[in-house]
């Protein structure tokens, strides 16, 4: 059976449809945005030169600190909260953001990696999965509200429902945690309520890969396997086949 993902369009007003680009781009060699790593996320302040609204609208990065989605509340002191993977992409791959720690020191790859690992020990694997999906033109948001790692959208949450709820299976010791029947059935039921598929991305590594010392180069040695598990209504299937 051929696999076709769900793309379910949202009912939305035509006026708030904005032509969005997948990446916020700055002038050559300029890191327009300034962020502070708070230990949970990277907080970006709004400035005249670099509007956080633009950062959000071009690729749906982050969440407004006073809003449900993008920074639209209009509050003067609203900031944009970026997830760790998003901030990493914007800083070290797209080079539009500069991250400082709470003391004001600029964070390079190593210090950012150390800090991120303290928050999430699987960060390098999640980053790998994030980059994997990003390179395929998906808009990626946190999957925490559906009990997964990421939610991935066509064009972004404004226009479409998420097509997949992504679970990242790291090569850690407990290989079956996502595959335990009750966990998998649980997320599946939640995801199904809005026509999503559960996509398990298993990240595989070579024995010499050391997550603590991961660099953009060593990340390239990781590979990914995709598994989509769908519930299948066997009685409906047989009935539609019989009436034909």
């Amino acid at each position: 059976m051929e696999f076709v993902p769900h793309f379910k369009r949202k009912r939305s007003n035509s006026k708030d449809k904005i032509k969005i680009a997948p990446f916020p781009l700055c002038a050559e060699g300029q890191r327009g945005y300034q962020g502070v790593f708070t230990g949970l996320c990277v907080e970006v302040v709004d400035t005249e030169q670099a509007r956080i609204r633009t950062l959000h609208d071009n690729g749906c990065y982050g969440k407004g600190s006073c809003s449900r989605g993008g920074p639209v509340s209009g509050e003067a002191d609203e900031t944009l909260l970026l997830g760790l993977e998003e901030a990493c992409l914007l800083t070290f791959f797209l080079e539009v953001l500069e991250i400082r720690d709470v003391l004001g020191n600029v964070m390079d790859w190593n210090s950012y990696m150390q800090a991120a690992l303290e928050y999430d020990k699987d960060f390098p694997y999640k980053l790998a999965a994030y980059l994997y999906l990003k390179s395929k033109n998906w808009i990626i948001k946190s999957g925490i509200k559906f009990g997964g790692d990421f939610l991935i959208y066509k064009h972004g949450p404004r226009e479409f429902h998420a097509s997949f709820l992504v679970l990242v299976q790291t090569p850690a010791e407990n290989i079956h945690s996502h595959y335990a029947a009750k966990n998998l059935k649980g997320v599946q039921r939640v995801a199904e309520t809005s026509d999503k598929d559960v996509l398990v991305l298993s990240v595989n590594q070579f024995p010499d890969f050391e997550p603590k010392l991961a660099t953009p180069t060593t990340l390239q040695s990781l590979t990914i396997q995709e598994t989509v598990i769908r519930r299948f209504n066997y009685s409906a299937f047989v009935q539609t086949k019989q009436t034909k």
């Binding site: 390179s135 395929k136 595959y179 396997q225």
Partner: protein, 383 residues
């Protein structure tokens, strides 16, 4: 004549009137379900009382006389040593049941039990007619085993409308073809893999010809690609529609050389958005981010990991596709039964299971049996 000579005749049997028959035949046997579903035992006296009543109620319902038609039953004899029921008298259509051995028709334990439950079979054992209750113990055994789940899945799927047969893995015809794998088989398997997104079956992979064929295959592929550099993208993708659209705009030679050295099959399930105009527009950035690759399914190093083995139990056929027991066609699904506490198969485990099939075109249906004996089916799509 006086009264002393009168003989009273009382019938040993009781005969029911027609109305009673109808009423008793369609007796409702449902346990009353009130309130929320509870999942753990609390141990309170009220709960114990409730459980006692529930069991008594269940017993009452199960021990009530049931009335079934006696005509229209086939007769079979259970052979304990063969674990099969030999059909002595057929009644009705037996097209999708049983197997023939030395001119005799035998039923598997789950088939016999299923027919018995439907009152289409009279099972005999040691010259006695087996009751439904006895049949459960006799056919499924007293100890817990996979037979319970097999029967549960068999009967549920049969009732749902499938023809359920034992998985045909080691039939004589298929093993003979497996023994001689020609290079033609290898080529078809490779084609299937490249175009149809189906893994190469294990028996073809094991063949000595496979490696040589595969080398030639990639040589030829390389040749074709280097001749027609403009159609290069087509080799890398399954999605023709989007590629043809994209090809027109694509004419930078620099880009193409990059593709050649990578030369990876893109069988990803999440590639669809590469057809979007935004992808074309920002292609350079997307390619810069494209540093983590899909793992090739051909890579055998992955097989060194400790994988659980999943057995394919049944094949499912549809009724309107002309199923014949003597010459079964390729089934619609193959069924893997997942016991209650077993985690779902992972990517590699499913792939391994898929590869053990000879006809690898058949999708696998993973059927999970829950604690409450509910069954649920799952379909896998893997990269």
């Amino acid at each position: 004549m006086d009264g002393a000579n009168l003989i009273g005749i009382t019938s040993k049997r009781q005969f029911l009137s027609a109305t009673d028959l109808i009423v008793e035949r369609h007796a409702e046997v449902e346990t009353p379900a009130i309130g929320l579903k509870r999942t753990s035992i609390e141990g309170t006296p009220a709960e114990e009382e409730e459980l006692k009543n529930a069991y008594a109620n269940l017993r009452r319902q199960l021990s009530a006389r049931r009335i079934e038609r006696q005509a229209g039953r086939a007769v079979a004899h259970w052979h304990e040593d063969q674990q099969a029921a030999e059909v002595l008298r057929k009644d009705g259509k037996f097209e999708s049941f049983g197997y023939s051995k030395q001119g005799k028709l035998y039923l598997e334990y789950y088939e016999a039990l299923f027919l018995l439950e439907l009152n289409r079979l009279q099972l005999e054992y040691c010259e006695m007619i087996v009751s439904v209750e006895q049949a459960y113990v006799l056919l499924l055994g007293e100890a817990a085993s996979e037979k319970f789940n097999n029967y549960l899945v068999y009967s549920t799927l049969s009732r749902a409308g499938y023809i359920v047969v034992k998985h045909q893995a080691n039939t004589t015809t298929s093993t003979s073809t497996a023994a001689v794998v020609t290079s033609e088989h290898c080529i078809w398997a490779l084609l299937d893999e490249a175009l149809g997104h189906k893994p190469v079956p294990a028996h073809i992979k094991a063949s000595s010809l496979y490696k040589a064929t595969k080398e030639r295959w990639s040589e030829v592929k390389q040749q074709i690609m280097s001749h027609q550099t403009t159609t290069l993208e087509d080799d890398n993708s399954l999605d023709f529609k989007f590629e043809t659209r994209k090809r027109k705009a694509q004419s930078q030679p620099q880009e193409q050389s990059k593709r050649i050295c990578r030369d990876k099959p893109t069988k990803s399930l999440v590639n669809h958005l590469k057809a979007e105009p935004s992808f074309k527009k920002f292609q350079e950035i997307f390619e810069k981010l494209d540093i983590i690759q899909l793992q090739l399914t051909d890579d055998d190093s992955e097989m060194n990991k400790e994988l659980r083995h999943f057995k394919i139990s049944f094949d499912l056929h549809l009724h309107n596709e002309g199923f014949r027991r003597s010459a079964p066609k390729s089934p619609t699904f193959s069924v893997v039964i997942l016991p209650t506490d077993e985690p779902f198969p992972t990517h590699d485990e499913l792939l391994q299971c898929w590869r053990q099939q000879l006809s690898h075109a058949v999708p696998l249906l993973v059927i999970s049996v829950s604690e409450s004996k509910q069954i649920q089916a799952f379909l896998y799509y893997i990269s």
